[in-house]
Homo-oligomer: 198 residues x 2
DNA sequence: ACAGTTCCGATGCGCTCGTATCGGAACGTG
DNA sequence: CACGTTCCGATACGAGCGCATCGGAACTGT
């Protein structure tokens, strides 16, 4: 067996470059040449890792989805003593990518979501990510609201979907400058408070 | 004065073509040639209406924003006798573009939102549309919740922002296939019900 | 009818894109 | 130390892009 290369690792490096460029110029500003340059490899190397550009984009989407998902999961288990409600608030904030240092990820994610509306391959990857998030959220909502003294019954799945959609919508509105991150956080907090005080 | 052409009208026709193509192949699938062909005019005519492609896209965004906005406004005044709460529900459904026949508009809108995250020109137009919607919604929320018997005070502006973000998030989730239109409508209805029964 | 102005369809240019190709560098193996 | 395999950098290619150009069609006012 002659010269071998860690393909998995290179794919990750390339995916990072894709995300950086998508953050700066949008998804359509991502070209193979620029990606290769940013990743400090040759175009040939990129082509060896991914047969086509679409394959590269799909991998990059999965990569960033994995990163966000694992950060959310980390938030959920960091402090086992916290209430489910608190955990849910943290996780939702994480999903909404409101913190300044995650603005880039938010832009990339939004670009992928828009593209997924017309690309079956991207849509599949995205749906998997969202399904996993919805599951996590639904579990947390159920746990946080299992108080038998509640006057109004709540559908955990529906509340999870609400939270997820709200987080995504807030992310978009922050990105285009309609809301400040602070205002978005305020909206999110108010929604959660209302959810847990009914 | 020699031969004259209704430029405003042609711009509208071209904008329609832009939206149709953006719906089918995403915003980056929109080329001047395809737009001209779809609008049944020559490329030269398109170039006469819009100096650059970006100018064309900005106009198209404004055009579709105007269409959606006026539809929302129509919903708000159609039946003056309806309660503010009902009007708000209708308007929110309209903004979320959940009805099948508006799916195309939703895809176009999402494409523009994503692009606006990296394009100042588009972001400006979008912000104006959202600001107007938020204003309308905030007014309706205030009207619907002016019941002095309410136990918990509500910030109309914040609720308007919540509603707007939720609607946008739901739109995106429907487009990528994570939610069915029915499920999205269900989420929206539940949110409004909770808002008006607290 | 003619002159003057506006408009636009056709065409070309320069560029960038994604992809295909291939010769040689790199390296484990016998 | 060659040999064989794997890898990749450089380059070529055809397609498609946005944009510029321009000659003549179309139409108005005289």
């Amino acid at each position: 067996m002659p010269r071998q290369v860690d393909h998995a690792d290179r794919r990750r490096i390339v995916a990072e470059a894709v995300c950086e460029l998508a953050d700066e110029h949008g998804l359509e500003g991502v070209t193979l040449r620029d990606v290769a340059a940013r990743a400090q490899v040759s175009m040939g190397a990129v082509q060896r890792c991914f047969r086509t550009k679409e394959e590269m984009l799909v991998f990059a989407l999965g990569h960033i989805g994995e990163r966000i998902g694992s950060r959310v999961r980390a938030r959920l288990v960091r402090s086992p003593a916290q209430s489910a409600a608190t955990a849910l608030g943290h996780a939702a904030t994480e999903v909404a990518l409101l913190r300044e240092e995650h603005r880039a990820e938010a832009r990339v994610w939004l670009a992928f979501v828009a593209q997924a509306a017309v690309s079956e391959a991207l849509a599949g990857t995205l749906k998997a990510s969202y399904a996993a998030l919805e599951e996590s959220f639904a579990g947390l909502v159920a746990e946080a609201l299992e108080d038998p003294a509640r006057t109004v019954p709540v559908d955990p799945r529906r509340e999870a979907r609400t939270l997820l959609a709200l987080a995504d919508g807030l992310t978009a509105h922050v990105l285009i400058g309609h809301l400040t991150p602070r205002a978005a956080q305020d909206v999110l907090d108010a929604h959660l408070t209302a959810l847990f005080t009914d």
